[in-house]
């Protein structure tokens, strides 16, 4: 149900207050035992170290595998589309490949000495290489590590041109990497504690994946806003989700949490947000995804229990959906839906154009704690 639009509500579309329909699951069986649905949701999951692993779910079934590490992002393997790669969350040091068909872990791969992962990776356009964002904690530098996608052997290493590189994605040219350099220095000896709050410098960097050359760099005005997550649209537009390091700021002013680099643009444009909604997000955006068909960019704020959506052409806020601890956000394979998940196992689907919740689409997997990021994949097709 979409709430009425009126002037007082500043023409915002309120999405997602419709009554849910009953969701049905058979659960507990692997893909091999099922007539394979086309679309599967994949994510890191788990509330405790004993549970940490990956989860995958279709509209009718779901399963999990324990990995022994807390993952952050999970990717469909470009060469083996029925496999997933779990990327350890910082300061974790392992990649774990899982076979969706059997639930078995196929490979584990550790970082180079003195390196840790930052939770994200992406494949080259031909699928032969895997790029991971890592930190060399001995040098205190951000690194882009190039690996053989088949066996994870490290082939090369480039500077990320910043500290604490986080999410990275390939641009439509198939060569340039968009890298969110969060700017936060950490060291495994001190866990996740940020060691450079005074001097932190965050940037969105465009880097040549063939040689590591810095092609362009963008920043937002607020120096304590950490650029952590991004998404790249087919036209080259980049959405950026930020996290304000409030403890480092000398003010209580609200900082922008969502920005867009338009295709061909030369500066990050902060997406205009009503003060009340910005405050609601509690200095934190956890994920962003662009729907190229509806031209909407979504952002999730688990600390605000809200997902926000903007038109990427006009920069205007399009609507929002409230869901406790929502962070997982993706676009369905048909690009007709935004899909949201939270750590209580809830899945909600919104019409990608009008942002209304799709009747009957709710699912609740009470044994899954969806973690930070979500993807929709077709296990029968390699990721593009």
């Amino acid at each position: 149900m979409t709430m009425p639009i009126n002037a007082r509500r500043r023409q915002l579309v309120l999405a997602g207050l419709s009554l849910p329909a009953m969701a049905a699951f058979s659960g507990g069986r692997y893909l091999a035992q099922q007539p394979a649905p086309r679309e599967w949701l994949i994510s890191a999951q788990g509330r405790t170290p004993e549970q940490y692993g990956a989860a995958w779910a279709s509209s009718s079934t779901h399963a999990t595998t324990v990995t022994g590490l807390r993952g952050h992002d999970v990717l469909q393997h470009a060469l083996r589309p029925q496999h997933l790669i779990v990327v350890a969350r910082r300061p974790g040091r392992e990649l774990v490949e899982i076979d969706l068909l059997s639930g078995r872990i196929q490979q584990r791969s550790a970082c180079l000495p003195h390196h840790h992962l930052n939770g994200h990776a992406c494949f080259s356009a031909d699928g032969r290489y895997l790029f991971t964002s890592e930190s060399d904690y001995q040098q205190g530098t951000g690194r882009l590590i190039v690996r053989d996608a088949d066996n994870y052997q490290v082939l090369d290493s480039f500077s990320s041109h910043g500290i604490g590189p986080h999410e990275l994605q390939l641009m439509p040219d198939g060569r340039t990497l968009a890298v969110a350099n969060g700017g936060l220095l950490t060291h495994p000896d001190s866990g996740r504690k940020v060691l450079n709050l005074d001097s932190m410098r965050s940037s969105l960097s465009l880097i040549d994946s063939h040689n590591g050359e810095l092609l362009a760099e963008y920043q937002v005005a607020e120096p304590k806003a950490s650029i952590r997550h991004l998404d790249v649209a087919q036209d080259g537009s980049i959405s950026v989700a930020l996290q304000m390091q409030r403890q480092a700021a000398e003010h209580q002013q609200l900082a922008p949490l969502a920005a867009l680099l338009p295709s061909g643009g030369n500066a990050l444009q902060v997406l205009d947000t009503p003060e009340t909604l910005l405050w609601h997000c509690n200095d934190y955006m956890g994920s962003t995804r662009i729907n190229g068909r509806s031209r909407l960019a979504g952002f999730t704020s688990p600390r605000g229990d809200i997902a926000l959506f903007w038109h990427i052409d006009s920069g205007r806020l399009a609507g929002y959906h409230r869901l406790h601890d929502v962070c997982g956000l993706t676009v369905s394979l048909d690009q007709k839906r935004f899909i949201l998940t939270n750590s209580d196992g809830h899945i909600r689907q919104l019409d990608a154009f009008n942002l209304e919740e799709i009747p009957g689409s709710r699912q609740h997997l009470s044994d899954v704690a969806w973690d930070n990021h979500l993807h929709a994949i077709d296990p029968n097709l390699a990721a593009s």
């Binding site: 509330r47 595998t65 490290v154 609200l254 809830h346 044994d367």
Partner: protein
């Protein structure tokens, strides 16, 4: 160095995913499992129902009643403004603000059903971000004296900064020879009664949202909370704890002691009321036992001791009117709401909420 190993099957086939059969989601409550840690589902529901009936609904209803009295008294006083009647009216503002500082412990549901234009901001502009709009309110009210049509529609169109408790505090406490000014300038009474009428409307909206009709759903938010069917799918007890935590965080972070009720010289009373409401949530018996007693029953004595120590520190700071110590104490109590209390009760606040990346 690269290591590649093949491991044995560690996958866990998950059977019988429980589905949430009722409307509205409901957080993690649907499993009905007895994990052996934390409160059972029945205990949680009983606790939430008791808190709702014993503290939340009485608080929002009391606030509504106080606004009605304030509105009525304002209209009566404005029949013939006099210095003699002003203290009673000022006292009623204080009673209204005091009621609000109890009610805003539960600043969710009807209070922020619309996150773009949340109702609570029209009651208390300070609560949004701790911005002190006192000077702009004074200027605005001065400008309003030249307005011709100070009717209900005029006030209903005003931005949140210019209405609510702060605007009324300035109207009732700021300036010399206040009663004379009201007597000599009838527009002042139009402003006063316009503001009290709007505040009563908002309080009625809040109370009605809790007990009659939430967001045009046909039933009050109290029913959603008690039945653990919140629109955002958060578990009801987690919602109450998070709301308590956010209130303490707000009081400390925005240094409310130095900002709220300063014209009325009521700052300490208001933060004291806020603290007492928070303490009551933890210590009052609900469905047979208080939250702290339930934590104790779960075997978390150290957590209980930590909370009690911070309560004692806050009480001492209040008695001594020591703002630094008070803010320190409620800051630690805020931390208790994030960690010690939910852990002891077995409440999951959300892994992304508490530990995102």
């Amino acid at each position: 160095m690269i290591t590649t190993t093949h491991t044995a099957l560690t996958a866990t086939a998950l059977s019988c995913a429980l589905l949430l059969s009722a409307c509205g989601g409901g957080g993690s409550s649907s499993s009905g499992d007895s994990s052996g840690e934390g409160l059972s589902q029945a205990e949680r529901q009983n606790l939430v129902e008791a808190i709702t009936r014993q503290q939340i609904l009485p608080a929002v209803d009391a606030f509504h009643e106080q606004t009605a009295v304030l509105n009525s008294q304002s209209q009566s006083w404005c029949q013939q403004p006099s210095a003699a009647g002003l203290p009673e009216l000022q006292q009623q503002w204080l009673a209204t603000a005091d009621a609000w500082y109890q009610a805003q412990l539960f600043n969710f549901g009807p209070a922020d059903a619309d996150p773009v234009l949340p109702l609570y901001t029209y009651i208390d502009s300070l609560r949004l971000r701790g911005t002190d709009y006192r000077e702009t309110v004074r200027t605005t009210q001065q400008n309003w004296l030249t307005e011709d049509n100070l009717g209900d529609a005029f006030f209903a169109e005003q931005r949140f900064q210019y209405v609510g408790l702060l605007a009324l505090e300035e109207a009732l406490f700021y300036g010399d020879n206040l009663a004379d000014n009201y007597a000599n300038t009838p527009q002042r009474c139009a402003i006063l009664t316009g503001l009290t009428g709007l505040l009563q409307q908002h309080a009625q909206q809040l109370a009605g949202g809790w007990s009659i009709d939430y967001d045009n759903s046909g039933s009050g938010f109290d029913q959603r909370l008690i039945s653990n069917q919140l629109p955002n799918a958060r578990e009801a007890l987690a919602q109450i704890l998070i709301s308590g935590q956010e209130y303490l965080d707000y009081l400390k972070k925005r240094n409310v002691i130095t900002q709220a009720g300063t014209t009325a010289e009521a700052s300490w009373q208001l933060v004291g009321t806020a603290f007492e409401a928070s303490k009551r949530l933890l210590t009052e018996p609900y469905a047979g036992a208080s939250i702290l007693e339930r934590m104790q029953q779960q075997g978390y004595e150290l957590n209980v001791n930590a909370v009690n120590a911070n309560i004692a520190m806050a009480e001492q700071a209040l008695a001594e009117r020591n703002a630094v110590d008070f803010n320190a104490a409620i800051g630690m109590l805020d931390g208790n709401f994030k960690r010690e209390i939910p852990v002891a009760l077995g409440i999951d606040l959300g892994i992304n909420f508490t530990d995102g990346d």
